[in-house]
């Protein structure tokens, strides 16, 4: 539970009065523990909020009031973490870990990104340009250590959190294999974001700009198609997902609707495959390293979700 009272700042714990030598260690230790606990709670609230924003798109238009309130909560947490300095620490930690990644630590997430409403030209978005927020809100040293420990949890959290990822996230490694598995999930996210009610492949300019601000090159259509054909002919049925969609009338999601680009809300589950295929029409060619940076960015997103 969140304690009542004023927010604890990172610096406050250092200013607590100390009595003696041993007491110094004890009180600062207690302060650090208290801070960690608060940071953990704050982090879990942030993760919970992000999950809520993602999962709020179903057959019916999501509740705008609820989305706005959750987005405001996320922004509040972000602002506080920025003031604490925790935000910058994590940005640095993550960019140190991901050399190829491009992130902007200063950018606070806009409401639109967090909870894009289904206007005619927009779709429900995954909070994509989250530059950081990988690990628990702990000081930098702990971040690097805990990334390994948190990684194990991450795998578990992933399967419950993201219905798009029946496979688990392989922690720590950013090599090719995990990337491909990861891509299935991440691709869906990005594909969904690029998806508009406009024609497939063109995407909206705003979204292109957004993507470009974080990632330099776009991926190739071949790579996407290739990935899906080789690795993922069809997503494996996830029991949680089945339950989620048990009362969905599948006739709405026929291929015609999808391929005409009329879908403006990203759908989860087995139909994502069709959507991503349709939305990746003519894309420019680029090298495989751009794919890797994309995938690293996708790692960020997953880290945000699972709070590794």
């Amino acid at each position: 539970m969140f304690p009542k009272g004023t927010k604890r700042k990172f610096s406050d714990s250092r200013e607590e009065p100390v009595a003696g030598g041993e007491d110094v260690n004890q009180s600062s230790l207690a302060a650090v523990r208290m801070l960690s606990s608060y940071s953990l709670q704050r982090q879990s609230l942030l993760d919970m909020s992000l999950i809520k924003l993602q999962l709020c798109h179903m057959l019916v238009e999501p509740n705008l009031c609820r989305s706005v309130l959750i987005a405001n909560t996320v922004r509040q947490i972000q602002e506080e973490m920025t003031q604490d300095g925790t935000w910058q620490i994590m940005t640095q930690a993550l960019s140190a870990a991901n050399a190829a990644a491009q992130c902007s630590a200063d950018r606070l997430v806009a409401t639109e990104v967090l909870c894009r409403q289904t206007e005619a030209a927009q779709g429900e978005q995954v909070p994509k340009p989250f530059p950081v927020v990988g690990s628990e809100g702990c000081p930098a040293e702990e971040v690097l250590e805990e990334e390994e420990a948190a990684a194990a949890e991450v795998g578990m959290t992933m399967s419950t959190v993201s219905p798009q990822a029946p496979t688990s996230y392989l922690p720590g490694t950013f090599g090719m294999d995990p990337c491909w598995e990861e891509e299935e999930t991440g691709e869906d996210d990005d594909d969904d974001e690029e998806e508009d009610s406009e024609e497939c492949g063109s995407g909206s300019e705003g979204e292109e700009r957004e993507r470009d601000s974080l990632v330099e090159d776009t991926r190739t259509a071949e790579q996407v198609f290739g990935t899906f054909e080789i690795k993922n002919p069809a997503p494996s049925p996830d029991p949680a997902l089945e339950e989620l969609f048990s009362d969905v009338d599948a006739s709405y999601y026929d291929l015609d609707t999808v391929l005409t680009g009329m879908q403006s809300v990203p759908k989860m589950g087995p139909y994502d495959l069709l959507e991503s295929l349709s939305s990746h029409g003519p894309s420019p060619l680029s090298s495989s390293t751009s794919c890797r940076s994309d995938l690293n960015e996708l790692d960020h997103i997953m880290e945000i979700i699972v709070g590794s």
Partner: protein, 435 residues
């Protein structure tokens, strides 16, 4: 008469659908409910009769009709729910009754009329309706009216569509009885009851850049007497009172009501629990009441900087906000209502509890709407939630509360002490029996 003792109980189990709105008409003779399946059920109060003294004023089903059907928005590939968000009665102008019912996108005006007489003895046709042979008609007769089984029929007279991009949360009939307003998350429109192809947009809080959206409209209502005045509440706990005479677009409010935040109770959930879920003018028009997650506040329209009265509905939930955020209960939209005299207010809570506050005596009571605990004609027992460690007998602990049993919709008869409480898919009607 005593406010806080309710006696008679009528439970009307409706079908499986969850009741989404409850509203008495102006006389209190009719009670309308709307449900998640788009259906409207209207109850009528039985007239008192000497023959059946015990059935004083019981409510029985008068009419049932399907108001809204599910639709599909092909442009967005989204379903439009048929759930009735609000019903508002129109003042009665002739023998028929009229009401407005709305789902997320479309408002409909329904006319409910009854026939309990039929004419017999026509000259030109016989009883079957077949035309009589003119040569066979030898004399003229005057048709007579004979009683028949009462037939109630509802017909949609107006459909007000395509005016809202976002989800309609409120409708409110104006005191001029000619216009009404409808509000969605970002806009408020003014309609004329006779004109369906046009509406005036009077409030628009949609930012030019949706990225900047941080606040939405949560409820709106017309002033009960001044037809140029209305209010709308927001997700940030503010209420704006607007005068339609000031400008065509009422983006600049005449009055701005907001209570300053208590810094000592600030948390990440402060904004969410400050979001106003309902706003209702008092019958007198001097006050208005707002409902946020934990409390009900009464505002004097002449004082903008703080409410004149605050009532805690379920303060024991303040320490559970994180769990309530997790299970989404923190977003539940509770409604509130005044009694006819504006001396008492009522609102719902969890575990099928509802709360009534007497503004004069400052007494409050918690009652439960459940079949197990109340038999017809029984006196409702006051309930209590124990907050401390020690739980007294008959008290219920916070952790035992059933958060799936929420009372979001309640209504109070405009003149008498009769209340209607919607508990999921059951409607409870309580009456105050005067011996």
């Amino acid at each position: 008469c005593c406010l806080l003792h309710t006696h008679d109980l009528v439970v009307v189990p409706l079908s499986a659908d969850i009741i989404s709105t409850v509203e008495f008409n102006y006389s209190g003779e009719l009670l309308a409910t709307g449900d998640k399946g788009g259906r409207v059920v209207i109850f009528q109060r039985e007239q008192e009769s000497k023959n059946r003294p015990h059935s004083r004023g019981e409510y029985n089903v008068y009419s049932t009709f399907q108001s809204h059907e599910p639709e599909f928005d092909y442009l967005k590939s989204l379903e439009i729910e048929e759930k009735i968000n609000k019903i508002r009665w129109l003042p009665q102008q002739n023998a028929a009754h009229s009401l407005l019912s709305t789902n997320d996108k479309t408002i409909k005006l329904w006319k409910i009329s009854q026939r309990d007489k039929r004419a017999e003895g026509y000259n030109l046709k016989d009883e079957d309706g077949r035309l009589r042979d003119p040569f066979r008609i030898t004399s003229l007769r005057v048709p007579v009216l004979l009683p028949m089984d009462r037939m109630v029929e509802a017909s949609p007279r107006r459909i007000f569509a395509n005016a809202h991009t976002y989800h309609i949360n409120s409708i409110s009939v104006n005191s001029d009885h000619e216009t009404y307003l409808s509000a969605d998350d970002l806009r408020v429109n003014l309609w004329h009851l006779e004109i369906t192809d046009r509406s005036f947009n009077i409030v628009d809080i949609k930012p030019a850049n949706m990225e900047e959206l941080t606040e939405v409209i949560t409820a709106a209502e017309c002033h009960p007497h001044q037809c140029n005045v209305f209010v709308y509440s927001s997700s940030k706990g503010t209420i704006r009172l607007c005068d339609m005479r000031a400008a065509a677009l009422c983006d600049r409010q005449s009055k701005f009501f907001e209570e300053p935040e208590d810094p000592s109770s600030r948390s990440f959930f402060s904004e969410i629990i400050s979001s106003i879920s309902d706003v209702k003018f008092s019958h007198s028009g001097r006050y208005m009441m707002t409902r946020d997650y934990l409390s009900v506040k009464v505002w004097d329209l002449n004082m903008e900087n703080r409410p004149v009265e605050t009532y805690q509905v379920h303060e024991y939930l303040r320490s559970k906000l994180c769990s309530l955020y997790e299970n989404d209960c923190i977003f539940d939209k509770f409604e509130c209502c005044w009694n006819g005299a504006d001396s008492a207010i009522m609102t719902g809570s969890y575990n099928n509890f509802f709360r009534m506050f007497d503004r004069n005596t400052r007494r409050d009571i918690t009652l439960e709407a459940s079949r197990e605990n109340s038999k017809p004609r029984a006196i409702l027992k006051a309930r209590k939630v124990s907050t401390g460690g020690k739980r007294k007998k008959d008290e219920i602990s916070v952790d035992s509360l059933d958060f799936n049993k929420k009372i979001l919709h309640t209504a109070w008869h405009p003149k008498e002490n009769v209340i209607a409480v919607a508990a999921t898919n059951n409607l409870y009607i309580f009456q105050d029996k005067i011996n």
